[in-house]
């Protein structure tokens, strides 16, 4: 018993320390998502102009669903990338769709007027679609492939490079 104890006491804290070290080296900002790789939740939302829009009704090969708000500062940072995407890609290939997150249509209009450009944004009353997609906050972007599965999720502001890389990889798969 005593020999056993002599070994055991220095060994016992090792798993606890290893666990602590593992915890400390993890990035707490990166949150898990259960939805990547799964079928994108269907939605039925209204655009800012009052049109009705569903995911199933979109015929683009790739859908980029961007949750944003006019009060969100990082959303301003990614705005030019999204504007550029609407200009570069054809609507039948890539549909850039904004979902307004806890914001008013008036706020969204002011944002678009102030920062220029425009891409289609749908309203999400009650934040139901955001919760369906497991959104933590804005901006968050979901890249939905031709089979309407969520291929990638990007947390935080998008850059043009990230957007282009992800969209092109999905176009390459779908268009082959």
């Amino acid at each position: 018993m005593k020999r056993f104890g002599r070994w055991l006491i220095p060994i016992l804290p090792i798993p606890a320390l290893a666990l602590l070290a593992f915890g400390l080296t993890r990035n707490v900002q990166v949150l898990p998502s259960a939805i990547v790789g799964e079928a994108a939740p269907e939605f039925h939302l209204e655009t800012m102009t009052g049109d009705s829009l569903t995911l199933a009704g979109l015929d683009a090969q790739v859908v980029v669903l961007n949750f944003w708000a006019s009060w969100c500062i990082p959303c301003r940072q990614e705005h030019p990338a999204l504007v550029r995407a609407t200009e570069v890609y054809d609507d039948s290939d890539v549909r850039i769709l904004g979902v307004l997150y806890q914001d008013t249509p008036a706020g969204a209009e002011r944002f678009m007027q102030r920062f220029g450009g425009e891409w289609e944004t749908v309203l999400d009353p009650g934040t139901r679609t955001a919760i369906d997609f497991g959104v933590y906050g804005v901006p968050e972007t979901f890249f939905i492939d031709a089979d309407r599965r969520i291929a990638y999720k990007h947390i935080g502001p998008l850059s043009w490079e990230i957007l282009q890389t992800k969209v092109d990889s999905l176009l390459a798969v779908g268009g082959a």
Binding site: K2, A34, Q102, I131, G134, V135
Partner: protein, 176 residues
């Protein structure tokens, strides 16, 4: 007792579950729905505040999540199904108390195992400190041999000296 311990732990973990299951399918009063949705909201992590439950948080998202919980319960879903919906969106992370399965089981079983181990260790220590040598039904616990029962290891463990043992033998001899 060793066989019972995991069962007791499992029962304690599952008890609130069974207490919650049942009446919601037959249609509940508004007060019952409120009560049940508060219980479910208290078990879910607010995605914005992270260390608060959906019930405690005053963030917009948490309030909308509470509405979703209430709607789903009123629509006939069980608390378990409502939790499963959020886990499907946000992953296990959304549960403040992890489900007792897979690696999560460690969280529930390790403290009990440590307590058991500590208890056994303490038992033998105390036996040695008090110099107890009597073998008997308590000679083995948890499959461990009692070292004190063997004279050689008792000596090594700082038990009785040879003089003391000789004196005890004389005492026993004089009585028998």
């Amino acid at each position: 007792m060793r066989r019972l311990a995991p069962l007791i732990i499992l029962y304690l973990m599952l008890a609130p579950e069974s207490a919650l299951a049942g009446p919601q399918e037959e249609g509940m009063s508004a007060a019952e729905v409120d009560q049940l949705s508060a219980e479910v909201a208290a078990q879910l992590r607010c995605p914005v505040c992270r260390n608060q439950s959906v019930l405690e948080s005053s963030s917009g998202l948490a309030r909308e999540m509470q509405s979703v919980i209430r709607e789903r319960l009123a629509g006939g879903e069980t608390p378990k199904e409502v939790r499963a919906y959020f886990v499907g969106r946000y992953g296990d992370w959304i549960l403040l108390k992890p489900e007792p399965k897979g690696i999560n089981l460690l969280v529930y079983l390790l403290p009990a195992a440590a307590l058991l181990f500590g208890g056994v260790l303490l038992y033998y220590r105390i036996r040695r400190w008090t110099g107890a040598t009597a073998p008997g039904p308590t000679a083995s616990l948890a499959g461990l041999e009692v070292p004190d029962a063997e004279p050689t290891s008792a000596d090594a463990a700082g038990g009785l000296s040879e003089e003391e043992e000789e004196w005890i033998r004389q005492q026993i001899g004089s009585h028998g």
